[in-house]
Amino acid sequence: MSGFLAVIARDVRLAFRAGGGALQAAAFFALTIVLFALAVGPDLTLMSEIAAPVLWTAALLATLISLEQIYRPDREDGSLDVLAETNGLLALTALAKAIAHWISTGLLLTAATPVLALLLNIEGDALWPLLLSLLIGAPGLSLIGSFAAALTAALPRAGLLIAIIVSPLYAPILIFGAGAASAGAAGDPQYSANLALLGASSLFAAIFSPLASAAALRFNLD
């Protein structure tokens, strides 16, 4: 257990060190939203209508660009070997790494959302469904994404490949997440159903993604 927590603590610490990428992902998240706004034009009504999908897409993209950092550096400096020969089950280590990725990106993005939501004219009652959906859905993004990162751990420039592999797998989370945020803002009764499905998707990823990641890592150790 102490090894499990140590992996989380180390990865979070590394993510916030210079070159770790956590702050870049957050900055990228903010920039994507600004670019969307620039593309749409300064129409506040239109903006508040598309705000939830835009924020969700931006969160997904920001997660996507940071996935490469989960396993490739560990493989390049030999620490993946150390993780593989310690800590019991490799799947648990994979779970720890996905949790660390969520803390250093997903949770950070969720925390930044209230401020960025103001830019898109979301406030008050519309904000809570958005935050809740991100809180439930972002762990799923990290979990599924870490699987793609494990698959490509041995490839030097895998960023684009990860995006191609993971995007179709992200579809359910995006649909339920953005759906929940939009439905919640509109007072639609589908809100809770969306949230439940989003939770189920994240839970499913929490169970199967570490197993699949561990299987992939085994073949990326040589």
């Binding site: 699987f147 698959l151 490509t152 041995a154 490839l155 895998a158 490949l161 191609i164 592999i165 993971v166 995007s167 179709p168 797998l169 579809a171 359910p172 649909i175 339920f176 759906g179 439905a183 589908q190 499905l197 998707s201 499913f204 199967f208 699949a212 299987a215 992939a216 073949f219 990326n220 040589d222």
Partner: protein, 251 residues
């Protein structure tokens, strides 16, 4: 000392013999069924009471959409076989199924778009079925991209197998989520397999076309598997002697 490679544990000789025999038969069957199927589809089946002759696109489109799913399933099954029993032919079958499956998927999307134009007045509508097929197409792309990106082919086979299985497990979830998304945002779709009322006479060309596609798949798969195996054999011959395995000697 003999050059040993992992691929010699399989029996490519027997495969070669069977493939050489089955390939022409499958090709002929595909051509024959396709010709008869198209004849029925174009000249010997009723037009739809709503869609008119446009419905005839269905005979190309629906079997292609089924093949898209069939090929992905075949890929997942042979990936599992390759993963568990380490049979290299299974890995090769999975690898070579992907581009064929992707081609069927593309055909389904293309004909779906053609079919959609008169129905919706647009080349693309975010119909639940078409959207699922589009996502399936991206799943194929990811799988093929992974095969291409990993230089060591034994490792690529393992990793791609894991991806195929994960993708396969996710397909029902993706399908459900897209149906859900579609029902929230749009009224029920017009474009369903067979349409709201399917005339029994429509079934004949439909099944003939499915048969043609399946045989075409078998023929294409065998041809590309033979190519791949030949390429691997060539690479092995080039390396022969240069890379004999080392053994340990006490000094």
């Amino acid at each position: 000392m003999a050059t040993t490679t992992l691929y010699e544990f399989a029996n490519p000789v027997r495969f070669e013999r069977i493939a050489a025999r089955v390939f022409p038969v499958a090709l002929a069957a595909a051509g024959l069924l396709g010709a008869v199927g198209l004849y029925f589809a174009l000249f010997n089946s009723p037009a739809d009471y709503q869609q008119g002759d446009t419905v005839r696109i269905m005979y190309v489109h629906v079997p292609a959409a089924w093949m898209a799913m069939f090929c992905y399933s075949a890929m997942a099954v042979s990936s599992t076989a390759g993963f568990i029993w380490k049979h290299p032919l299974a890995d090769v079958a999975a690898k070579e199924t992907a581009p064929i499956g992707a081609a069927f998927t593309f055909l389904a999307l293309f004909t779906g778009s053609l079919w959609g134009k008169p129905m919706w007045g647009a080349w693309w509508a975010w119909d639940a079925r078409l959207t699922s097929v589009l996502i399936l197409f991206f799943l194929y792309l990811g799988y093929m991209a992974l095969w291409r990106a990993v230089p060591d082919k034994t490792r690529a086979a393992k990793l791609a197998a894991i991806l195929a299985i994960v993708g396969f497990v996710n397909i029902p979830i993706i399908k459900f989520s897209v149906d859900w998304w579609n029902s929230l945002h749009q009224p029920a779709s017009v474009l369903r397999a067979g349409g709201p009322s399917i005339h029994p006479d429509m079934l004949t060309p439909l099944f003939l076309m499915i048969g043609a596609y399946v045989f075409a798949y078998v023929a294409l798969l065998l041809a590309s598997m033979r190519n791949e195996l030949t390429a691997r054999r060539l690479a092995r011959m080039e390396n022969a002697g240069v890379h004999a395995p080392a053994s340990v000697v006490e000094r």
